[in-house]
Amino acid sequence: MTVALVAVAFSFLYYEAAKAEYGDVVINEFSDDAGMRPVVFPHWFHRIRFRCKVCHGDLGFKFEAGGNEINMLKIIDGEYCGACHNGNVAWSIENCDLCHSGIPNTPTQVHHSTTQKLVAPLRSGTADSAASGEGTNGEQQP
């Protein structure tokens, strides 16, 4: 009982502030609507194994969170994530939960990006934050 209470209390504390890794990208363009958890893409894990240009050049990923309109059909046809996550280079797409692991309703964002780290958030409607798909609504309030 005590253990359960402690666990519950801890989970609340952890929800208080996101501590995810620099460069983690949450992609939630279609996931919530489809009843799936949003995708969390860990840049750090991938850059240990591949240089930037493999994804951002050879595979055509734009430098923009949420700007690639990735969907599962493209992935199973071998585009975007599917170029590697096909059971040959990296684990295959049956492992839904390994990518779709974000907290539901977390908006698309680059975690710890400069605009997120501003202690006073940018005013909503700032041209760039809207244009880059990296709105201030994903920020952790101090």
């Binding site: 996101a18 501590k19 460069g23 951002h56 839904c96 780290k117 760039d128």
Partner: protein, 199 residues
């Protein structure tokens, strides 16, 4: 009989002690959060960096997949440190051979085409001039990643300001999102202005 009683008493004592300790720990955490004069009120403390996915505030701890993912801290342990971002010096890690990121999808080694060319940008104001090294950038990127969409490959053709970088344009397309953040001023502003210019 006696032995059993003693054992159950000991178990009770240990369990009780643990519960009290846990409560004290929680209370201190809660106090730290509610204390208006706490240190680092608006900053993430160092101990919380590179957190494991189930407790990082972005991954859903209720998903079984989350608990399979690697903890950055564990991966970064052996890599050279830096002051910000992932707290890893990625270029030093590549130069030292600590990591060997592939330059193509397959495992056939493809050597990147590295261009060793520094571009000096003289900046307004008192900050040291910027030295842009193509070398480190071409170790990770192709020419076409930046040219011509982000930077026109022609001297004097690119207007760059810190404001635009902070908002994610120009250098800020990567720096401040995945490459080292803009708080590392002197890694770019690295060439002192000539003394005559100051007078």
């Amino acid at each position: 009989m006696n032995a059993i009683n003693m054992r159950s008493l000991a178990v009770l004592l240990v369990a009780g002690g643990m519960a009290v300790l846990a409560m004290l720990f929680l209370a201190s955490l809660a106090e730290a959060q509610s204390n208006p004069n706490a240190f680092n009120r608006l900053m993430k403390p160092a101990a919380e960096r590179n957190a494991p996915p189930p407790s990082d505030g972005i991954h859903d701890p209720d998903s079984s997949g989350t608990h399979v993912l690697q903890t950055p801290r564990e991966s970064f342990d052996a890599l050279p440190d830096s002051n910000s971002g992932n707290y890893v010096d990625w270029n030093a890690a590549v130069d030292a051979g600590e990591i060997a990121p592939r330059n193509s999808i397959g495992d056939t080694p493809v050597t990147p085409i590295v261009l060793d060319l520094n571009i000096v940008r003289e900046v307004k104001g008192s900050m040291p001039d910027v030295v842009y090294p193509h070398k480190q950038h071409t170790q990770w990127l192709d020419c076409s990643n930046c040219h011509p969409a982000i930077f026109i490959p022609q001297k004097g053709a690119n207007q760059i300001s810190m404001a635009s970088i902070l908002l994610g344009e120009k250098c800020g397309v990567c720096h401040g999102k995945v490459a080292f953040p803009v708080s590392e001023c002197r890694r770019c502003h690295s060439r002192p202005k000539e003394q005559t210019a100051a007078n």
